[in-house]
């Protein structure tokens, strides 16, 4: 249990494995936002992301006993979603990004800021789409989902030096594309 009184991941996993399947809802609420964001950025589609993440949660529930380190449930979930995204991308290339994408902003009345942010986001997303799936994944896990390189290794199964190289190349490629649009 943490300082807020919420059960830790290890406690929730123990409860679910002990037969309290409803406790899994806690896992969904805790991690769906990050996983959906990651999947949406990987796949370029919110609908595809929702399907991928929902299926991943169900799969995680059914195989929860194989999560060797319940305290690292988060990296385990990202691993399942990352693999599902890669399978999805192997079957179909990433969808083009809609310019209707509107990021949440602090002041919904500031429409001018909204529009500018939306345009910037569309530009960045378009640049992201041009990366290979591996580089895209590496950049998102590192800079958007905030995983450490060690956590990324657990998610991807790759070694840290390989991941560092991918992140570096992703940064370089993104910068090149972003500068190309100026």
């Amino acid at each position: 249990m943490d300082v807020t009184g919420a059960p830790s991941d290890a406690e929730v996993v123990a409860r679910v494995l002990g037969g309290d399947s409803e406790a899994f809802a806690l896992v969904v609420r805790r991690y769906e936002a990050g996983l959906l964001r990651f999947a949406a950025r990987m796949l370029g589609s919110r609908d595809a992301a929702a399907d991928a993440v929902a299926e991943s949660f169900v799969r995680a529930y059914r195989h929860l006993a194989s999560c060797r380190e319940p305290a690292r449930l988060r990296t385990w979930l990202y691993r399942i979603v990352a693999n599902r995204c890669k399978s999805h991308l192997a079957r179909r290339p990433i969808a083009d990004v809609s310019l209707d994408e509107a990021p949440a902003v602090a002041d919904p009345t500031d429409t001018e800021l909204n529009l500018e942010r939306a345009e910037q986001l569309a530009l960045v997303q378009r640049a992201l789409v041009q990366l290979s799936p591996e580089k895209r994944e590496a950049f998102l896990l590192k800079h958007v989902e905030g995983l450490s390189y060690e956590e990324m290794a657990a998610v991807t199964g790759e070694r840290v030096p390989t991941l560092k190289m991918r992140v570096h190349r992703a940064r370089e490629a993104l910068l090149q594309v972003l500068e190309g649009y100026e």
């Binding site: 959906l36 919110r46 986001l121």
Partner: protein
């Protein structure tokens, strides 16, 4: 692709203080940080909780029903897309969750290793593996389908080395191991699979 100043990577990896960068390099770092921040904004998506919990609460179909559904559903792509991954995942899950109590297993010698044979043969009554490790005798190494899901397995202690083998299904059908990545012509018009047994103690 143009390589960028390595100090930019160091700063972004937390290995260099941002204050140590020049104005120009800081600008580049800022550009990437801003791009990441835009991507990090939460998406306006409905919660998946009700959808996921509904799927979890739905009773899992019986194995027979799942097998029928699997056989009836066109699965060319799924089956063709690296079945070694899904069966390797299944093998890994099985390996991680099966810790039989009491029986420690055989003492494995210095020049011995373990070979694991896995094959999907739904509906089979028996599956054996036959090869140069058992003088091509059928019957000495039987696979088992413990949970009746059509996936047959055997874990065998063998001297280290390379061996040729095939599966024999229901005592009469010779089938190569489709999961084996090593194949060799058998000089009889077919292909044998190859397993390389490495020392278990390494």
């Amino acid at each position: 692709m143009n390589a960028i100043d390595p100090r930019i990577h160091q700063a972004l990896d937390g290995e260099l203080a941002p204050a140590a960068l020049s104005a120009e390099l800081s600008r580049v770092v800022e550009r990437l940080v801003t791009a990441a921040a835009l991507l990090a904004a939460p998406l306006p998506l409905a919660s998946l909780e009700s959808r996921v919990m509904a799927a979890i609460r739905r009773p899992v179909p019986s194995r027979a029903r799942r097998l029928l559904r699997w056989l009836a559903t066109p699965r060319a792509i799924t089956f063709r897309v690296r079945p070694v991954w899904s069966l390797a995942f299944a093998a890994v899950v099985a390996l991680l969750t099966l810790f039989p109590l009491g029986h420690e297993g055989p003492d494995i010698g210095e020049h011995e290793g373990i070979a694991q044979f896995v094959g999907r043969f739904p509906g089979a009554q028996s599956v054996h593996v036959v090869g140069s490790f058992n003088d091509w005798r059928s019957g000495s190494i039987a696979l088992e389908d413990v949970d009746q899901d059509g996936v047959w397995r055997a874990t065998v202690v063998l001297p280290t080395g390379a061996y040729e083998y095939m599966f024999v299904v229901d005592g009469e059908r010779w089938v190569p191991d489709h999961l084996a990545e090593r194949l060799v012509a058998d000089e009889f018009g077919r292909e044998n699979s190859i397993v390389i047994v490495r020392p278990a103690r390494r």
